[in-house]
């Protein structure tokens, strides 16, 4: 087990190093001279053309003239010393911004994930147990719909129906529990649909397994056959989907947070990208990657807790 933990930690560090290189290269290779975009965002209007002197001044002030390798090493070196850098756009240290904006994102992702998991499992099991009945068909149509519709469209439709027509929920903002309902549904719907599909298939497969037949033959009531034998075994493949979906949720939060004016890192990242606030983009992405890796690490450990056949040597 110790050996496994050491190995996993080494992989985690390696992944972070590779991710930092990718992030840095991609951010710098994005079309549009960073100094020019920054100059337009900070000093003049977005639709105006920045004069060369201003671009030169901005480059000079924010060290954008230095060779890329040097910029990269300075950024990584800072992170290793616990300094995530300084945001040009907000004129604040990145760690301060993250402390402010990370909790709303973690809250939103956690609520969306819980919603997706609970609703996904319940509907997936229900659908499997009512295979080819009307309720199963309705759930399957809903699943295909949820998987195919883009998150931003779902978000706008939810606002239209629940906030504007029915007046049940606030349109956007972050000042009470009722504000999280729509963004969490909009963010989690896609994941919920994936979980329903996997759980339904897995449940149908498990219900045909000999140990389920034998559990029935033992005289266990159907409820108990399903709860203590079938569901637990059918859940294993869903766990993988949950780990993978966490990345999709973090990525989806960028759009959803912007639509619902949710003060998370997604909305902040959106602003940072349009203004080419390089250090803020890079450091925020590194934090997201780190969270994704930690969640998947925990899920790998959960496998072992649920399935005794999996051991980590």
């Amino acid at each position: 087990m110790h050996h496994y933990l050491i190995k996993r930690t080494a992989y985690l560090i390696l992944t972070l190093v590779i991710a930092s290189m990718f992030t840095f290269v991609v951010v710098n290779a994005t079309p549009g001279e960073p100094a020019e975009v920054l100059a337009r965002h900070l000093y003049i209007g977005l639709e105006e053309v920045a004069p060369p002197e201003l671009i030169a001044e901005v480059s000079e002030r924010y060290d954008l003239n230095k060779p890329l390798l040097q910029q990269y090493l300075e950024w990584v070196g800072g992170i290793l010393h616990g300094d995530l850098g300084h945001s040009i756009l907000f004129n604040k240290p990145v760690d301060r911004l993250l402390m402010l904006h990370l909790p709303p994102t973690i809250l939103l992702t956690a609520v969306a994930m819980s919603f997706a998991t609970i609703a996904g499992l319940v509907l997936g099991i229900y659908s499997a147990l009512h295979q080819n009945k009307i309720s199963d068909h309705i759930i399957r149509v809903g699943t295909i719909f949820s998987v195919s519709m883009p998150g931003f469209w779902v978000a706008v439709m939810l606002i239209l129906v629940f906030s504007i027509w029915l007046g049940l929920t606030p349109v956007s903002g972050y000042s009470g529990p009722q504000y999280i309902i729509l963004p969490a549904i909009a963010l989690g719907l896609h994941t919920m649909a994936s979980i329903i599909r996997i759980m339904r298939t897995s449940m149908l497969e498990t219900m045909d397994k000999p140990f389920v037949t034998f559990a029935k033959a033992k005289g266990l009531p159907m409820r108990r056959v399903i709860c203590s034998h079938a569901c637990k075994n059918a859940f294993l493949p869903v766990l993988t989907v949950i780990g993978m979906s966490f990345g999709a949720l973090l990525a989806g939060s960028v759009v959803i947070e912007t639509i619902f004016s949710w003060p998370g890192i997604g909305a902040m990242l959106m602003k940072a990208i349009s203004a080419r606030d390089l250090v803020l983009i890079e450091s925020t992405i590194m934090v997201i990657v780190f969270m994704f890796l930690i969640v998947n690490f925990v899920i790998d450990l959960l496998y072992h807790v649920i399935d005794p056949r999996i051991t980590y040597e």
Binding site: P210, F211, T213, A215, A217, K218, G219, H229, D307, R309
Partner: protein, 309 residues
Amino acid sequence: MNILEVSELNVAFPTRRGLVRASQNVNFSVKEGEICVLIGETGSGKSVIGQAVLHLLPQNARVSGSVRYAGEEILLISEQKFSRLRGHEISLIPQNPTGSLDPLMRCGQQVAEVLDVCGVPKEEHSSRTTSILSALSFSDPELVAASYPHELSGGMRQRLTTGIALAASPRLLVADEPTKGLDYAARKRTIEMFLNLKRRGTDSVLMITHDLELAEMIADQAGVLYSGELVEFGPAADVFSSPLHPYTKGLMAALPKNGMTPMPGMCPGLAQLPDGCYFHDRCPTPCEENHVHPLMHEVCGRQVRCSRC
């Protein structure tokens, strides 16, 4: 007294290629304390009989006829009523011990579930489980109870599933191909276990198998199935020593000790059964009136479905 009476049992499955009649007008009975073996090749409809008795058929199965357990009709009763019989009155020795154990549950708990169903109080579960496991000659029952199925050997799993089936001392055991897919050693142990049951003489067993050697060793009554129908049923010693139906004769001749003479042809598909005798095409001594479906009739104390006998 008959513990199990199956009469006019029909099981069919609707499929795209038509109705598959897996079992047709099957009649037989199992006496208390007797071992009744149903023999047949793959696709002869022998497993669905066991599943019908235990209410384990797939949901799309169409079932008719009658199955009486200790005089009580059980075939078409509700699942709720039937689940009271499962486990403690009628239990199953499954055909695949490895697949029949829940991989995520400790073995002791899987035994204790049966005790729970029978109303044994929770605090007695662990002591009862230990005694059940030691009766199955496990040297360290506590260790086995705390293990997961994948930590046991194939033979241990076989003993464990048998132990679970016997845990509540059921009156009728249904064994569905207990030797299928087992290696030589495990098969030998299984046969010994059934010989022990036979020696004890108190258990009633309905066994379904294609293992003719096993059947010959343990059966009191034997039935031979062909294309979903019983073609011969009677005392096992007679069926094995002097088979009457040409199909039974063919099966016996195909045994290694009888010269391993294979039977020509294949059995007809269950979706397109001929009108007359199902065995006509393969029969070494075919009769002229093949368009008439032969009925079961009694010959020398046995039931045979052949117009020649």
